[in-house]
Amino acid sequence: MKRAVIYIVILSVLLARYITLDNTMLWYDEAFTANLAMIDINKLIVATANDVHPPLYYLIEKGMCAIDCSEMGLRFPSFLFFIASLLMVYLIFRDDENLWITLLFTATSALALRYASEARMYTLLMFLYLLGFYAIKNRKFVLLSVSITLLLYTHNYGIIYSLVLFVVAMLEEIKRPVIAYPWDSKDTEANFVKLLTTFSVPGVLYMPWLYVLVKQLHFVHGTHWLRLSLGGILLTLQELFIPLDFYSDVKFAFTIIAFIVLFVSLRYLRQSKMVIVTILPILIAVVISFYQPVLLFRALLPVMPFLYYSIGRMVVENIRKRKFIYPALFIALHIITCINVLTVDERDKNVRDIIPLLSSQQANVILHTNVESAILSRYYLPHATHYILDTGCVEQNIGSLSKGTENALGLNRKNDGQLYIYAIGPFTTSCEYNFAKSYKQEYQRVYTQRVDLGELEVYALH
């Protein structure tokens, strides 16, 4: 009966997520994925090599885009990887009494549901991390090798997760006898040679991209990388539970609840293996951040099923002891954040405002004052040619691309064409606005439209 109810809840949430996949327009990061999926493979590799992520997810999206390049189509692979992750949770915790509660909490997790509907690689990262853990648990060395290789080519956090899986795999082997008892199978013996080979193969296969990664370190910048501080670490932990678009009026109270639940649950991890797979990735990210800020909550999505395992234990054990305060707080937080994520209808107000306005103009060339505007418009207005103006401003908005990526995407910084439509306002910093004001004197104003966050000005060439 209990299982039937859990099945129904999980299926209902998955159905709701599928139906709402295209509820929101793409935001910058997703539009960047879409831009890469629309260019040919050679350019895609060049554009990726000059950016900050490995290419695997973009190649999957390239294949998907050939079938369906709509918002729904682009987000569908992430949804599938989320379902695959749930399957892995089932296989990993199959023999555990907390299987169903872990599965239920993971399936209804706000963070997982958010990234199940985003054209980014985070649910793939979660799936591969779980696959690696499953392979270690069942001593499937080839599967482990494959999952590590794919992890490395999915996200740079793959290096951290591979390291964690290596530690877990070593600890699992150390527990085994060096020589098996005569009545046991030879398979029960520790096999460090096999284990090292398993991890060496992905290492060798990753070598070509390692060279690229060293170059990429120069591009790791932008506002989404948190500076390292106690507040920064706490914000990352808070964002694992509280969605970005959460109701601001109650965010304060729910943050306290999130911290209470998190701190209470950590002691329920108990087994050393579970502590390592949950805590070690966060610790490694913090340590790396002393040298290069890399702390980013969404890249920690893969640890969530393990965190929900400990929360599940906390809930079950507290209810058994007839202590309801912590379970009640967590369930309230979980239900409300889940509803919030499923009902959000905008991820970027700028996109919602500006794209329909630009679409209504019949421009063949659009000049942009920054990358964010160009990347978003390029997906929604593919008929036009897009250029980024050299404003000389330091780009402080979300988007910032290297010259190599801009060129591979065809977003050259030069002017061409007959009719220019040129938007300023919503995506613009004050520096870019001042540049645009001087630049637009060459053009004749044909249209000005005020939008919520600034103004869209449309100019034609004299």
Binding site: G231, L235, F252, A253, I256, F259, K323, I325
Partner: protein
Amino acid sequence: MTEYYTKLLQIYADSDRVLIMLAGVALLLILADKLSQKITPLIGFDISGIVEVLILITIIISFTVRL
């Protein structure tokens, strides 16, 4: 009471400090709960229920605070 918290938040205007304060409140409440469980057998009077009510009151008050 809300005004008091709002003033406190103005002091902790920096978001880092707000988060540290919230994490501190969470830890204090958990610690109080743990202590109450340890103390109850010593004094022969169950005070864990009082701490649970304290946790609830803190959270209810925090719902009145806007960031």
